[in-house]
């Protein structure tokens, strides 16, 4: 059975591992971006409190 094993199996596994890591990193960056935008919006709205046109 050993000689029929897919010679690319190990490499495919490695590629998937890297891609998964990269995808999680993109997810983390996007989540951080959303949190930052929310925080900036709150901060900007706070600085104009009492002045809806400011």
């Amino acid at each position: 059975m050993r000689e029929n094993a897919d010679p690319f199996e190990g490499r495919e596994h490695e590629l998937h591992r890297r891609r998964r890591g990269r995808n999680y990193a993109v997810l983390a960056v996007l989540a951080a971006f959303v949190v930052l935008m929310f925080a900036v919006t709150i901060a900007k709205m706070g600085s104009h409190a009492g002045n809806p046109w400011g």
Binding site: R18, R19, R22, V40, A43
Partner: protein, 315 residues
Amino acid sequence: MSMTTASAAPPAPEAELRDWWRLLKPRVMSLVIFTAFVGLIAAPGAAHPVVALAAVLCIAIGAGASGALNQWYDADIDVQMKRTRARPVPSGRVAPGEALGFGVGLSLMSVAMLSVIGNFLAAGLLAFTIFFYAVIYTMWLKRATPQNIVIGGAAGAFPPMIGWAAATGTVSPESVLMFLVIFLWTPPHFWALALFAHEDYRAAGVPMMPVVRGERTTRRQVLGYTLAMSAASFALAFTPVGGPVTLAVALLANGVFIARAWTVARRDAGMAQADRYKAEKKLFGVSIVYLFALFGAVAVDTLLGGAPGGWPLLF
């Protein structure tokens, strides 16, 4: 494609996360973040901490984007130099088109975000900085003139001015002086590196000062720019963003920097080769500490309330 052909072909390297991180030139980015932050907090009128953090992040991303564009365009040079051939694009881990897309995408995003978070002046300055570094320096000056890093140094000098503009919406004499310090700091900083890496630049055909004008002229100019930079840093101490801490650090840091530059100026190629460019490498290291120390001192003076009453001011 047959199995035989597929087996014979070398596996295409695939980029890892750290390759994308390296495309942003993180070490250059750290200097940009720090100087932009100091420019922002030194500006009159306190920005909200979250807004300040977001603005500095935009400036950092913009700087990283210009680093990616630089590495996309310079891959042909980088592959010939020992110092740069392991970078993501010349090593083949990131395709040139991907680096270009990454750089353009982050540039547009950072400028757009800064226009919303800060103001149009800060965003315009950031856009100009990215354009200046990626197009004026990388595509034109770097391959055309030994004055490449003198003029191109402006790109690295803009961040404190952008930080200041993000906080105030203005350009002021203080922010121009911070720009001037980094602008005059760049030639001695970079030529110290070019002196011990000039064989690399010669091989790659990049007209750096030591390659075109020789070591002697470069060493003399290193000292000249160091003295000019010192004058600008002392002037910074006598502005509303300076104060006693800035003056004390300027005295000490300039003393060390000038002493190192003087040593480098007095040496010749033979002496440098004999000890493997020890003094030049030392000057390069000192120059990095210098900039962090000086801008750190401005930050401390700001946190202490700025220049005290009765402190002599230039403007």
